[in-house]
Amino acid sequence: MPINVSGKTIETDEEGYLVSRTDWNEEIAKEMAKIDNCDLSTNHWEVINFLREYYEEYQIAPAVRVLTKAIGKKLGPDKGNSKYLYELFPYGPAKQACKYAGLPKPTGCV
């Protein structure tokens, strides 16, 4: 199902993930969030940008357990926990944040 961002049509798969990772920009992330009725705050962006850096380095989207631990290491224990991340991304921090970050669904998530 394609989404429209600043006059351009961007291809996404049936679950809303980008078909081509190179299409990504911040406007697309905001548009995807809007579809989910989610307003992206600085805290959301912190996680989205973290995921993009993680993918750049390791070429995969991390499992939620790995994401939580890695966030804790980088941003501190008050952010590296499930409660905090699920509050930001109620559909699941790995799934939802990966979508906004333009990444594929984490390996192992159905």
């Binding site: 380095e57 499992a63 631990k69 790995a94």
Partner: protein
């Protein structure tokens, strides 16, 4: 697998005993799909808290060589993903000395920390597992 089950145990007769899994990699990285398939299974199975080891023998040692650049063949370079395994608590990576030396490779040629063992030691490692998955 739902995200909420990130750390479930595989129930075995109600005991939930942690089993030893060895992923045995024998193929070079891009000529066939085995290497990538193995890595994907490792990542998926990492959600089940098991005792996981990876072994690289024969051409499998080529999977973790530094300096892979796949733009020219238009295939995804999955070698950086081996460095993510530590974050998945997978830290036992064994390379067989004989296989490494037959290919003129040294421990410093690998992009992740590995333990180099000889064939007899590798045989013992295989023997000590509950499950060996061969790729």
């Amino acid at each position: 697998m739902s995200e909420a089950t990130g750390g479930i145990h595989m129930e075995e007769g109600g005991g939930g005993k942690i089993k030893k899994f060895l992923y045995l990699n024998r193929k070079a990285p891009y000529g066939t799909i085995y290497a990538l398939e193995s890595l994907e299974v490792v990542l998926i199975a990492a959600a089940f808290d098991q005792d996981v080891s990876l072994a690289f023998i024969d051409d499998g040692v080529y999977q973790i060589v530094k300096g892979q650049h796949t733009k020219g063949i238009d295939v995804k370079n999955f070698s950086p993903t081996f460095r993510a395994l530590e974050g998945y608590d997978i830290e036992k990576l064994y390379v067989e000395k004989e296989s490494m030396e037959a290919r003129s490779l040294k421990e410093t040629d690998f992009l992740v920390p590995v333990k180099v063992v000889n064939a007899a030691e590798m045989a013992d490692i295989m023997q000590s597992q509950d499950v060996v998955l061969s790729f």
